[in-house]
């Protein structure tokens, strides 16, 4: 668990981050969202002490991060930045091996870990290990950047606009991959973005920042239904907030007992997609089914609409 305790950063008289406190659960994805200049990147960089706080402290599993030399702290925390920041003079394998080498792992262990990560990120080791970053596509470079950050099996992964340089289709794929990776390794991820869609898609908890202050920090549904501040409403969007809310719940969660005709809707589909499907078919209800074929009951337009309202 990461505890951010009354953390501030000032440059001269200007506060960039102003007395922020938050508690980040283990094995979760937390997204910090805000406009540019909101202090979200500075807040993230204070967690691994790339920026030293003016006041306040950060505890990881109860230990004050200020107690340890910053470069040793950073070797235990994964870090991914926009534009990947791969070393152009090192191969893919050498890039991924950076932190294990700093930690003095044995060569055989490093090689095994690099191969494992390349496979996880769908990069065939025989083909990609010896390539240089400039020989990769943007999406591949981004995946190597994440693999490099995960190389030494860090418990915490910090990501600063990691998908900002990708085009929309590759970005959606990268977001899916990140959710898979998080489930697979159980890493605690803190991700900074200015993209509310990304925040809603990835974040179990979302923090909204503006002018150095944390306006609200809660589950995405709560940000929509009980915004703490007009700025939060503006950030989450007012026109399509009902659809956003529907996108946060799956068909499986909302299904009620009963049966219906027609092809089944997958339990993992969001209510937003389920509603779209029902409108398209022109029916009032449809069955819901798990991937393994067990029935979850049915979903009606009325149950979906009820879920798209606050309270």
């Amino acid at each position: 668990m990461i505890s951010v305790d009354n953390l501030s950063k000032q440059y001269g008289a200007t506060p960039v981050v102003d007395r922020v406190s938050m508690s980040i659960e283990r094995n979760s994805i937390t997204v910090i969202v805000g406009t540019s200049g909101s202090g979200k990147s500075t807040l993230l960089r204070m967690i691994n002490r790339l920026v030293e706080p003016t006041s306040g402290r950060v505890l990881i599993d109860g230990n004050d991060t200020a107690a340890e030399p910053p470069h040793l702290l950073r070797r235990r925390i994964g870090y991914v930045i926009q534009g990947h920041g791969l070393f152009p003079h090192r191969t893919v394998a050498e890039n991924i091996a950076t932190v294990p080498r700093l930690l003095g792992w044995e060569a055989a262990r490093i090689r095994a870990r690099v191969d494992e990560l390349l496979q996880v990120f769908q990069l065939e080791p025989a083909e990609f290990a010896g390539k240089f970053p400039h020989q990769l596509s943007g999406g591949q470079q981004q995946r190597v950047g994440v693999a490099r950050a995960l190389a030494a099996e860090p418990a915490v992964l910090l990501m600063d606009e990691p998908f900002g340089a990708l085009d929309p289709i590759i970005r959606a794929k990268a977001q899916e991959d990140l959710l898979d990776i998080q489930r697979r390794f159980g890493t605690t991820i803190v991700l900074v973005t200015h993209d509310m869609d990304e925040a809603f898609r990835l974040g179990q908890r979302v923090a909204v920042m503006s002018h150095g202050c944390m306006l609200q920090y809660d589950r995405p549904a709560v940000l929509l239904t009980r915004p703490a501040d007009p700025f939060v409403s503006r950030m989450t969007g007012i026109a399509d907030r009902a659809m956003r809310l529907l996108s946060l719940t799956t068909a499986g969660e909302a299904a009620v007992p009963g049966s219906a005709d027609g092809p089944a809707i997958p339990a993992s589909a969001s209510l937003r997609d389920a509603l779209s499907e029902l409108v398209w078919r022109g029916v009032e209800s449809a069955p819901v089914m798990q991937r393994d074929g067990t029935s979850c009951g049915r979903l009606t337009v009325a149950t979906i609409l009820a879920r798209g309202r606050p309270g």
Binding site: N48, L50, H71, L72, L73, R74, R75, R76, Y79, I81, Q82, G83, H84, G85, L86, F87, P88, H89, T98, V99, L102, F132, H134, G145, R148, A149, L158
Partner: protein
């Protein structure tokens, strides 16, 4: 397309230029025959010095080279033709020296004339152009240079050119030549090494502390604008005073004139290119790579040596190349204040109006600077290829 080119061969533009130069050279004296090293001599054409058969053989060979220069587009063939031309021209001048020197006569001087120099320039231009068109890899360029140096060394050792005026001057000055050549190289390399030791940390400091950058680069720029002779003069007074005040300094050879002010001036001139290129090289390093390196837990020393300097190295070595070539030339002037080096022959030759002695100093200086440029360019390109 290919058949069209074969039917109507295009005239090569550079070939036309080379041929025009070569044709012009035929009207200029090929050698100058002087009764001794100072008196003016009478000009002789190729036909006047070589037996007719040999002279026409040379003309025929040069005509072939000109034809190749005008019509052949294959770069390898052009290079072969140009090198053949170099051999013809140098062998002709060597033969002229041997034929015009009466046996046992050490006074008469056979000097290469303007015709020879223009011809050599023309075939040399054709050769460098052919090499440029071939785009050889850095290793091949170094190999070519080594090959060329080996052939030249063999010819000199064999005594091929011994009856030419420059080699006559060499024969008289052989002992001093070796000494001054060593001194020349030491002054150029030593001042460069000292400059790199100071300039590299200074450049890193300027990169880290932007406020320092303007002041340091500004001061070094001012030094760079002082003419070399003026700087030697400026340094004479303080170094002379230092030698007078501190006996140890005088014992170490630090005096107002001699190698000390020369080395110091060269050192000062060397600082700007290395500092400026270090700053530029470090500035060019991707900020994302540096940020990532820090974020992954490299110490600032590891970031500097493992990422920043390595990525900046091609630019830094480019600065070192500029300094080395510049120093090899500047050392020549150091002879004016008793610094030694090949410039000694240049200034002596000017003093005695003995142009052959000037060449004895100038030709090796040019060869040194040229070789240094080829070697360091190859090094920079190798590093650039490795790091993209």
């Amino acid at each position: 397309m290919a058949s069209g080119t074969a039917r109507r061969p295009r005239i090569d533009r550079l070939g036309a230029l080379v041929t025009a130069f070569g044709a012009m050279a035929l009207w200029l004296p090929f050698v100058i025959c002087k009764p001794n090293r100072i008196l003016p001599g009478d000009p002789r054409s190729l036909l006047e010095v070589l037996p007719p058969a040999a002279a026409f053989g040379c003309y025929a060979g040069l005509l072939l080279v000109a034809l190749a220069a005008l019509t052949v587009s294959n770069a390898r063939l052009r290079l072969a033709a140009a090198l053949f031309g170099v051999i013809v021209v140098t062998m002709a001048v060597a033969a002229a020296g041997n034929l015009l020197t009466p046996a046992g006569n050490k006074v008469v001087r056979i000097a290469p004339g303007s015709g020879f120099w223009v011809l050599l320039g023309a075939v040399g231009l054709m050769a460098t152009d052919a090499i440029t068109r071939l785009r050889p890899r850095p290793a091949v360029r170094v190999l070519l240079l080594a090959l060329f140096a080996a052939v030249a060394a063999l010819a000199l050792a064999h005594g091929t050119f011994d009856n030419l005026s420059v080699m006559r001057e060499y024969a008289v000055n052989a002992g001093r030549f070796a000494h001054e050549a060593r001194r020349h190289v030491w002054l150029a390399l030593g001042s460069l090494a000292a400059a790199v030791i100071v300039a590299l940390p200074l450049g890193i400091l300027c990169h880290r502390v932007p406020r320092l950058r303007g002041a340091v680069l500004g001061a070094l720029n001012v030094i760079q604008t002082i003419p070399a002779i003026a700087l030697f003069g400026i340094l004479m007074a303080p170094l002379g005073a230092l030698a007078a005040a501190v006996p140890l300094a005088a014992q170490l050879g630090i005096r107002g004139i001699g190698a000390a002010p020369a080395a110091l001036a060269l050192f000062l001139y060397s600082l700007l290119p290395v500092v400026a290129n270090t700053v530029t090289g470090l500035k060019r390093v991707s900020p994302a790579a540096v940020e990532a390196a820090r974020g992954m837990g490299m110490t600032s020393w590891q970031v500097l040596t493992g990422v920043e300097l390595i990525l900046a190295l091609p630019v830094i070595v480019t600065g070192i190349r500029i300094v080395l070539v510049q120093n090899i030339g500047l050392v020549t002037i150091a002879a004016l204040i008793g610094g030694g080096g090949l410039g000694v022959f240049v200034f002596q030759g000017i003093g005695q109006t003995a142009i052959d002695l000037v060449l004895l100093g100038a030709i090796p200086t040019v060869a040194l600077a040229f070789s240094a440029a080829v070697l360091l360019d190859a090094l920079v390109e190798t590093m650039d290829r490795a790091r993209q």
